[in-house]
């Protein structure tokens, strides 16, 4: 009796019930001090054709949950300690994925549940053409003939709006741009029409204009195929843009669950409220006074960059002669006043980081860089070293930019040591004071970088940059790798330090919302040149250059009521800064449209 009842229940579930049902999931990871739960007692359901966003900061267990569904947890360190993951789809009714062996799971992976990862370059095999990778997965899962698989692969590429799909099959991953690669990944994931698509930070590694397009693509494909999507992201803008329902996770536990509108309009849990308030929003920055002081010293620039160009030669051909040139930075000029924050924004490859490297002395350049009125290129080694003291840099990834084999106290003292400042005891005292100033404690000086969290590490990097009391700090994507709540606090720290020490920032970022919150002036770069420059209000309230407009429009707004129906579509691949020798790019001339607001063209 119960069997027939169960069967009937299943049949109804097939049409209406959730396609994925997780109950009481706990994941344990074996670490240095025994097992630790990284996900505790998580229960969730995913409806048919629904987009469920799992939002949370790093360490919240969101990626572990995704890997657990795929049965791809890193073995043997991580295991499912408790709970069931039931997949109910039209073909295989009701299986608990946690009980399947590897062979049966392999058939479900890709076929019934597909996954796309953050970094498309590392998830594609670099030595196989994308055609080969696509057709292979189709052949393996469906048993289709080679010709049939090829036909379906082309179809899949067309469905993700890749032009000239047939010739693309022969290309290798490195020949495609980041956005293209992610589209190939989506094509691969959707070629087998899975019931569930898990997207783990699918657009985090992409530029904001490309991000919009990939998100729109996911939405369109979902509409056509009725796929259920689990979207894992830390970006509340993406959540607002995409989700039907949101789960907020923290430290392995679900903090809150609800419809997207409710979560954003009236978050219940304190953590959700904090998370949402920490998200930087364009146009909602506090009415802060400009940090720049007009006390008559405005002409006294900290740094003046005049006609800066950085070009890299590429060799090719039979004789290995220079035949192409990357025009990474092409005639860039700007200046920074004391107490000022100049933001340099643009998408990857626009030359903003190269500009920073030229200033920091990491790449050879042409043009003039004046620090405190002295041109760097005219100076000898020792003098240049002395002048360079005034520019310090904070990198994107604090872990990569600190020598993992040195104690953090030594690392912060190192700039003082190199420039021969103070005795050993004085240096120690100064480092201790710096530690306190950036919100760490002096007794942490004896630790190594890996013993800190990401935010703490970035504070160490800031302390290190401050050690020499520089006039200018270059912050190259310095807060991009941090969680929003940590990001907000690091940004606050940067502002405090600015008012305290009068240091100027060259703030490099791709994140328009962060830039809008911290900068006094903004310069927008595209293909190695500045296309627009002005005060924050000029650029954000009255963007004049089409590229600036597109950049601002593409930022997902963390507000579901302002969800856009269509994103700005990229009609063509982004032009390349690599050109043949002799074919120099056309220099843009900046025109003043009023009050120092400069626009190209």
């Amino acid at each position: 009796m119960s069997a027939s009842l169960d069967k009937r229940r299943e049949e109804t579930a097939e049409k209406t019930g959730p396609v994925l049902d997780i109950t009481g999931l706990s994941i344990a990871v074996r670490g240095e001090d025994g097992e630790r739960e990284v996900v505790s007692n998580l229960s969730l359901t995913l409806g048919r054709g629904e987009t469920l966003c799992i939002a949370g900061e790093s360490g919240s267990g969101k990626s572990m949950t995704a890997l657990a569904i795929m049965q791809l947890l890193p073995k043997p360190a991580a295991r499912i300690a408790a709970g069931t993951i039931r997949l109910r789809d039209a073909e295989r009714n009701d299986v608990d994925l946690t009980t399947l062996d590897e062979r049966r799971m392999r058939r479900i992976r890709g076929d019934r549940i597909a996954m796309i990862f953050q970094e498309p370059m590392t998830s594609l095999n670099p030595v196989l053409s994308i055609g080969r990778q696509l057709t292979e997965s189709i052949e393996v899962h469906t048993g289709a003939s080679r010709a049939e698989a090829r036909r379906r692969a082309i179809e899949a590429l067309k469905s993700v709006r890749i032009s000239e799909a047939e010739s693309r099959l022969k290309q290798f991953p490195h020949e495609l741009s980041g956005g293209m690669r992610q589209r190939v990944m989506i094509a691969m994931a959707l070629a087998l029409e899975p019931a569930v698509l898990i997207a783990d930070e699918p657009t985090t590694a992409l530029d904001v204009t490309v991000q919009g397009e990939v998100l729109e693509l996911l939405r369109d494909l979902q509409r056509v195929h009725g796929t259920s999507i689990i979207l894992i992201t830390h970006d509340m803008g993406v959540v607002a843009e995409m989700a039907d329902r949101v789960i907020v996770m923290r430290n392995g536990r679900m903090v809150e669950e609800g419809a997207t509108g409710d979560i954003f309009a009236k978050p219940q849990a304190t953590y959700t409220q904090e998370l949402l308030s920490a998200v930087p929003r364009i146009g909602e920055g506090p009415g802060r006074r400009p940090s720049r002081r007009d006390d008559g010293t405005a002409n006294d620039h900290v740094a003046e960059i005049n006609d800066l160009s950085v070009r890299f030669d590429l060799r090719g051909g039979l004789l290995g002669r220079v035949n192409r040139r990357v025009h990474a930075v092409e005639g860039v000029s700007f200046s920074i006043a004391p107490h000022e924050t100049l933001a340099l924004v643009g998408e990857s490859g626009c030359g903003k980081s190269t500009t920073a490297k030229a200033l920091a002395g990491l790449v050879p350049y042409e043009g003039a860089i004046r620090i405190g009125g002295r041109n760097l290129s005219g100076l000898g080694g020792d003098e240049r070293k002395a002048v360079r003291r005034d520019i310090q840099m904070v990198f994107q990834d604090p872990f990569a930019s600190l020598d993992p084999r040195m104690r953090v106290g030594e690392l912060v003292a190192e700039p003082l040591l190199i420039h021969g400042i103070g005795s050993k005891q004085e240096r120690r005292d100064r480092v201790a004071a710096l530690f306190e100033r950036v919100g760490l404690s002096a007794d942490q000086m004896e630790l190594y970088p890996h013993e800190f969290s990401g935010g703490q590490r970035q504070r160490i990097c800031i302390a290190r940059a401050l050690a020499l009391r520089p006039k200018l700090i270059i912050a190259d994507e310095s807060v991009s790798a941090l969680d929003v709540s940590v990001q907000a606090r690091v940004l606050d720290l940067l502002k405090e330090l600015q008012s305290e020490f009068g240091v100027a920032y060259l703030f490099i970022s791709h994140d328009m919302a962060v830039v809008e919150n911290i900068s006094d002036r903004v310069a927008v770069m595209y293909l190695g040149q500045i296309v627009e420059m002005g005060t924050r209000d000029q650029v954000f309230s009255n963007p004049r250059h089409p590229y600036t407009k597109r950049l601002i429009e593409a930022v997902p707004v963390p507000d579901p009521t302002r969800r856009r129906s269509r994103f700005a579509r990229l009609d063509k691949e982004i032009a390349s800064a690599t050109r043949k020798v002799g074919d120099d790019p056309q220099r843009l001339t900046l025109r003043d449209v009023g009050d120092g607001h400069l626009v190209a063209g």
Partner: protein, 302 residues
């Protein structure tokens, strides 16, 4: 933006450094490392005290060391490890041979490591024409058969233990240089090296304080692997008559002198072979432990 967030994650987790015992103490905590130390101590003591540990002369061809037919004796009560083809006591020869082999294994290998590391680090960090010249030279050395080179070098100099050690060092540094070069060039691209340059660090500081410490694991692994290679290379040279001159014993030449009789008298190859293996293993165990201890990122995993 300025809304305070209640639990300050970035400063909340206060980790405080615990004082750590010295390298030596931590080494002694590892049973495997202690085993390695014991083996090396035995070999060193055996080499130094050889004249007092055995009643035989290493080069004396004893009449009762051979059977009536003239074949060597297997291990017995009088000759603990048996005798060799000429009726010499094998244990005595192994003890005295330890002197030669330790010098070769440590000095020759050490010099090879030093040259290899210097060349590799310089080429890997500076690149450009300096790097090209150094690495092409390394490739040239690599392409040249090591044995032939050693024979040429040994023929130029008068064979003696120290010359043999130098010859071996001059042949053996190439692999180390190659490996160190690759590691250094990838390290030099790491962001923390760029960060060092932005604070004004010069080349010596970057090389010695920031690149070399990261190469320690590789150097240790190559160092311990090199010990058995160099000991055997010395044996090969001895066999060809350009190494340590007979009748001076070394572990390598004991094996080479006797290898043709391996089936009739297996102990003659087995015991010196086991000695080489034990020495290499001992260095390997210590090297492994040192690598973990010297790596601060491994802290807490001991």
């Amino acid at each position: 933006m300025t809304t305070p967030i209640a639990p300050d994650l970035s400063t909340g987790a206060r980790v405080v450094a615990k004082p750590r015992p010295g390298v030596w103490k931590r080494l002694l905590k590892r049973p495997l490392a202690v085993a390695g130390l014991v083996i090396i101590a035995i070999v060193v003591i055996g080499a130094i005290l050889a004249p007092w540990l055995t009643g035989y002369d290493p080069n004396e061809q004893m009449f009762d060391g051979l059977t009536i037919e003239g074949s060597p004796l297997p291990p017995n009560a009088k000759f603990w490890l048996g005798t060799d083809l000429l009726g010499r006591d094998l244990l005595t020869r192994i003890l005295y041979g330890a002197r030669t082999s330790l010098i070769i294994g440590i000095v020759a290998n050490g010099v090879a490591l030093l040259i290899g590391t210097l060349v590799g680090v310089t080429a890997g960090h500076f690149r450009g024409w300096v790097g090209s010249v150094l690495m092409r030279f390394t490739d040239l050395m690599m392409a040249f058969p090591a044995l032939l080179l050693a024979i040429c070098l040994a023929a130029v100099f008068q064979p003696s233990l120290w010359i043999v050690a130098m010859v071996i060092a001059l042949v053996n540094w190439v692999q180390t240089a190659r490996v160190i070069f690759t590691e250094t060039s990838s390290l030099s691209e790491r962001e923390f090296i760029a960060a060092e340059r932005t604070i004004g660090a010069g080349a010596p500081r970057i090389l010695f304080r920031h690149i070399l410490p990261h190469l320690v694991p590789t150097i240790i692994v190559w160092g311990t692997l090199g010990i058995s290679t160099t000991v055997l290379l010395e044996a090969t040279l001895s066999y060809l008559g350009i190494g340590v001159q007979p009748p001076t014993a070394s572990w390598g030449n004991i094996i080479f002198e006797n290898q043709t009789y391996f089936q009739a008298a297996p102990w003659l190859v087995f015991f010196p072979g086991a000695a080489i293996l034990a020495l290499a293993l001992a260095f390997n165990l210590i090297g492994d432990a040192l690598r973990d201890i010297l790596d601060p990122t491994q802290r807490g995993r001991e």
